[in-house]
């Protein structure tokens, strides 16, 4: 369960091991879409006089249950979705889950996607809309061993180190553009952390709050170069929906975001209350690692000074910056003419 995979997942793409399944899943999505199965049509009918049944919606994660989704599970555990009249089915992801395509095509009402993916998919006809940015500061980074000779990303990029990092991700283009002439050799992340542990790769793509924690708990001290500090800071983990669903059921989207915001506030205040339930859903990550990860990600989710009602909120300027960066990188053809169509901050 590598970071690369996680990062790739945030862009809707699996890690290397799972990439074959990713292709199959993408094809499956295409076939399903061609068969025309719109989501969001599942409002159950209620008998006369009875309380209306909760609105059934699905949230597709792009990775397994981990603290990065802590607020979602807190909202579910505390009945916050139900209070808003929603019956939310949280679907755990795996390597290869094409959440962006599933969400854009309406097979699920909500999905976890990368901010860059919202923009690139819209250009290809997949009208995604960002609703909630889980991380205000991108948790993406590059991890090296604590005793590695490189003191910066620039030094690392100028070296001939082997770096486990998924080619094709926008930030790889960003690093190549920012540090031209780099000699690093990029390899996929399909081996998880094994290659990094064994020294076969000298640096690895990571979530600051995840893989470095696992390394530290294994007794391998590491340093992390933050990509956000290096100038590339997209809304990496974003809850998105399809534009069609938002237009049709704006109230459900607003209710979903309200519950999510409250859930995150509760999780940030008391992650230890919710982590055991998350750990049960993901035996691959220990409870201890989840507790440490929750602490490390706190300020990335809610930087100091963030009000309870500001968690998950997105800024127009941030989306514009990301769009401009993607255009400069050649990932996007043009900045969307109406950037406000890309995201919606629910009241």
């Amino acid at each position: 369960m590598s970071i690369l995979q996680r990062l790739a997942e945030s862009c809707g793409i699996p890690g290397a091991v799972a990439s074959a399944r990713g292709v199959a899943a993408a094809v499956a999505v295409a076939l399903l879409a061609a068969c025309g199965e719109p989501g969001g049509e599942t409002k159950p009918s209620a008998p006369a006089g009875a309380a209306p049944a909760p609105r059934a919606v699905r949230l597709q994660l792009n990775w397994m249950p981990e603290p990065e989704f802590g607020g979602i599970y807190a909202a579910q555990q505390d009945g916050l979705f139900a209070r808003e009249g929603l019956a939310v089915e949280v679907i755990a992801g795996s390597a290869g889950t094409p959440t962006a395509q599933m969400t854009a095509s309406g097979q699920v009402e909500f999905g976890i996607v990368g901010g860059d993916q919202v923009l690139t998919l819209r250009e290809k006809g997949g009208d995604l809309v960002g609703l909630f940015a889980i991380f205000q500061t991108s948790p993406m980074g590059v991890m090296v061993r604590a005793d590695a000779p490189w003191k910066s990303l620039q030094e690392l990029w100028a070296s001939d180190a082997t770096v486990a990092m998924e080619a094709g991700l926008p930030f790889v283009r960003y690093l190549n553009q920012k540090h031209p002439g780099g000699k690093v050799r990029l390899v996929p992340t399909g081996t998880g952390l094994a290659a990094f542990e064994q020294g076969a790769v000298q640096a690895q793509q990571c979530f600051i709050s995840a893989e470095p924690v696992q390394m530290e708990l294994k007794g391998i001290p590491v340093r992390v170069f933050s990509l956000a500090e290096g100038g590339y800071d997209p809304y990496t983990v974003t809850v998105a929906t399809g534009a069609a669903f938002l237009a049709k059921d704006r109230d459900a989207c607003a209710a979903f975001v309200r519950a999510l915001r409250e859930g995150w506030a509760r999780y940030l205040a008391e992650p230890a209350k919710y982590n055991p339930a998350i750990a049960k859903l993901n035996p691959g990550m220990t409870l201890a690692a989840m507790d440490v990860a929750a602490r490390k990600q706190h300020d990335l989710v809610a930087p100091p000074g963030t009000g309870a009602n500001e968690v998950g909120m997105m800024e127009r300027a941030r989306w514009e910056t990301l769009a401009r960066q993607l255009v400069e990188l050649g990932t996007l053809k043009a900045v969307p003419p109406v950037i406000d169509d890309v995201f919606w901050n629910a009241p």
């Binding site: 790739a8 990439s19 990713g22 997949g126 094709g168 050799r185 990029l186 390899v187 094994a194």
Partner: protein, 276 residues
């Protein structure tokens, strides 16, 4: 009258058009199916408008393939080398192992079930281990290609050799032929049609194996193999490039398959019906 007929010389030229017609007749059905499939694909895109991010049209795929022709050509070359290397290893190991197993009922009963594991173990699951064992780069792709394609060769070799005519085996024994001599002069030629069939299957599989190996162990850069091109295109939501890369992989597979078939034809055409 007799001078005007000249029947013998007239027969030779008539065979060329006959062969041309036969070749044409053989080519028309697959060509027609391909054209019909492309038209149906394009028609489905027009009718259902699934969105470029879900299903690009054949025209979009063709345009992308042309725009990325240099990238795809390099990728095809690199993946083709890995697949060919893995295929060669599998061919050698498969024929050798099949011959050894065919020589001993005890070995066959003991080892053949284990050999079938090669076919049953999901390659995707063990691919990361190949990186750990072989390191990054072409070695992992070659190993992956070899693992996935060795079993068809082994099985076809074993079946072919076990089917050797018993009467001929007894004849070789009567003539005091040695074990190696019997293998070289009798069993291997006897099994050759079956081996060629196994090699054809292995040729296609070797490309799949190479790409799976590339998914976990190939270097990315200016010259990336097909597996990396596919991964990168997926991450960039360039579905049309994914399709173009997959078609490139298919072309590599066809090329390898065609090469093996041609070699098989050369080896068999003079004495076996399957080579005719």
């Amino acid at each position: 009258m007799s001078g005007a007929r000249a029947p013998a010389p007239a027969r030779a030229p008539s065979r060329a058009p006959s062969r041309a017609r036969a070749a044409l007749a053989a080519a028309v059905p697959p060509f027609a199916v391909i054209v019909a499939s492309i038209l149906a694909w394009q028609g489905a895109v027009w009718a259902f408008r699934p969105g470029e991010y879900l299903l690009p049209s054949p025209v979009q795929v063709a345009e992308e393939a042309w725009d990325s022709r240099a990238t795809l050509a390099r990728a095809a070359w690199l993946t083709g080398l890995s697949a060919a290397g893995g295929f060669a290893l599998a061919a050698f190991a498969g024929v050798l192992a099949g011959s050894v197993l065919a020589a001993s009922r005890f070995l066959m009963r003991g080892l053949y079930p284990i050999a079938t594991l090669l076919q049953m173990v999901p390659l995707v699951a063990i691919a990361p281990l190949l990186v750990v064992w072989c390191g990054y780069g072409w070695r992992t792709s070659v190993a992956s290609a070899a693992i996935v394609s060795v079993f068809p060769v082994l099985a076809s070799t074993l079946d072919g050799m076990r089917g050797t005519d018993r009467g001929l085996v007894e004849l070789f024994g009567t003539l005091h032929a040695g074990r190696v001599q019997r293998w070289w002069k009798l069993e291997l030629p006897w099994a050759l049609p079956s081996i060629v069939t196994g090699l054809r299957v292995a040729a296609g599989l070797s490309v799949i194996g190479a790409i799976v190996g590339e998914f976990v162990g190939a270097f990315a850069g200016d010259a990336s193999p097909v597996g990396i091109v596919i991964l990168s295109a997926l991450r960039e939501n360039r579905t049309e490039l994914v399709f173009a890369a997959v078609l490139t992989a298919a072309v590599v597979g066809f090329a390898l398959f065609g090469l093996v078939s041609a070699l098989g034809w050369v080896a068999l055409r003079r004495w076996h019906a399957s080579g005719g």
